[in-house]
Symmetry: C2
Subunit: 325 residues, 2 copies
């Protein structure tokens, strides 16, 4: 990686992002070298984003950078890992100029400072196709203690951080589909869609407490489904318990049918996890003013997910999950 | 990563590639978890390949898979690292069918067995553009002992493994530009272009011996330039000492001007390294029947690279290096 010609044009722009990470060798070697702290393991996750598929393309490049880094950080959070470093692969069409790259790098720099992660290496190339971006993020977690999807047990309480549905409603807002909202509400939802908040601190504090965890990217119902499937258990949640923002609450009052988008829409990047009933108080005490933690249901011995709506009637989602294809 | 919809269609095809790697969790979790052995550090490298830019597109998918994995393995070799695992990101246009993916996966499977590496995770997505592939490879090396570009010292001998120029001449062959060669010679060169041989065992054995190392991907002259620049030294090599294959030798006899392609062409994926003069014998003894090791020149106190041609006249390359953009 970091080849002449492939990376040279942009090394001036990206090398400063590796300045605080000695193992990056200032992006001048064939590879990066680093290790998790003694007693820790490495957690590795990777996501690719394609212009026109995962982002609209007219966002500020710094916003695209933030989303790219944060969806990966959210995966680290869901494993209980602390961020360490990341590599970046960019395939760029000819029309991408230095101004675009500089704004993109400024978005990375801001989030590096916020989340304590550094650029370790990467590769860049031209493409006749759309901007295609890959981040591979590295975190560390105490050996054998990474949070997993598998591990939920009957009797566990099911919890989510933050509020659910804002990401999906933010995308609807961008498409002009929620005209009844106030300007401030629309801005709040779009901001949630564009700028996921990886729940890294909560993830770290769940190590040793949670039986299972995942981040909500496909949608609450689909991601809880992943936990149930890998843990071989069932669950029941109540839709009225699912925490929503003021803006999402307004949208739901205007159109109760939007509950399907809230529960199934995805792009929330909140943590969804289960923990033993006995430690409910301890789990709820992890909530902060900025990151609430809410109990939404219970793991049981059944199979599959049952969602109870208002009055206890079952809710059926037409499609559980959100597919980027 | 490994999301519903993004990875599900193909998880049937790719999950078996992670079967021998427990930390991949059979591609069913948010991230992979692993650690280098005690006393070792992690070496991380990443490369992206785009159809129409890095490969022609009509190769068998298994050959594309082999090149993608091997260019990354070659970077691990150049750092003296032993392969551990890799992640794979694939962005696929609609016309890519399961048959393509299965052949691609079979190429990965074959090389996993050959080189002792396993799939740890990944991401897949659709794209309106060309097939875009990223591998991020992880290796391990004894703490503080990774081979580096920086480290060459005046007096060091300069060595290369294998033969130089076959990759670049292989590409010329594919373009129909070397009609004077025999069919067997053409096949041999194309094979060298398509199937790099990462020199992993030699790289491991150079740990503690070599002062500097790099793999030849941009071209012998350009990559030696990288060593000189990061090591702040100069060098002199003799073109007659640069080892070439029988096929490349034939091409050079037909057209001595091809020496520029041999020294500057790239895509060799041989190791280029320097080591103290005192251990020349020890270094040359690392050669095997399959992987020769040849001394081609010497590091000096100057700056930049001087290439001496036949009769001692300096060789000037129009362009030192090979750019994929």
């Amino acid at each position: 990686m970091t080849r002449t010609g492939e990376f040279e044009r942009i090394s001036r722009i990206f090398a400063p992002l590796s300045a605080d990470f000695p193992g990056a060798f200032a992006l001048t070697d064939d590879a990066a070298v680093f290790a998790p702290r003694a007693g820790c393991e490495l957690v590795v996750t990777t996501d690719t984003m394609v212009a026109g598929v995962h982002f609209i393309g007219d966002e500020p490049p710094s916003a695209i950078a933030a989303k790219l880094l944060r969806v990966n950080l959210s995966d680290l959070a869901s494993m209980g890992a602390a961020p360490l470093a990341y590599t970046l692969n960019i395939a760029l069409p000819r029309e991408i100029d230095d101004e675009w790259l500089e704004d993109f790098a400024s978005g990375l720099a801001a989030d590096q400072a916020t989340y304590g992660i550094a650029l370790a290496g990467g590769d860049s190339t031209g493409t006749p196709g759309p901007v295609t971006l890959t981040v591979t993020a590295f975190g560390e977690v105490e050996k054998g203690r990474a949070l997993r999807r598998a591990g939920a047990r009957p009797g566990d309480g099911i919890y989510v951080s933050g509020t659910i549905g804002d990401g999906a409603l933010g995308l609807l807002t961008l498409r002009g589909l929620l005209p009844g909202l106030t300007e401030a509400e629309r801005r709040a939802l779009v901001d949630r869609y564009r700028f996921p908040r990886p729940r890294l601190e909560l993830g770290r504090r769940l190590v040793g407490l949670a039986h299972s965890a995942i981040d909500v990217s496909d949608g609450l119902a689909a991601d809880l489904g992943h936990i149930l499937e890998t843990s071989r258990v069932g669950a029941e949640i109540e839709s009225r318990l699912v925490p929503v923002s003021a803006a999402a609450g307004h949208a739901l009052r205007d159109d109760p049918g939007l509950v399907a988008m809230v529960l199934g829409g995805g792009d929330d990047y909140e943590l969804l996890f289960s923990a033993p009933a006995e430690i409910e108080e301890k789990v709820l005490a992890l909530a902060t003013a900025e990151v609430p933690v809410t109990r939404i249901g219970k793991i049981d011995t059944g199979s599959g997910l049952r969602i109870l709506g208002e009055g206890g009637a079952p809710v059926h989602l037409a499609k559980s999950g959100w597919e980027h294809r």
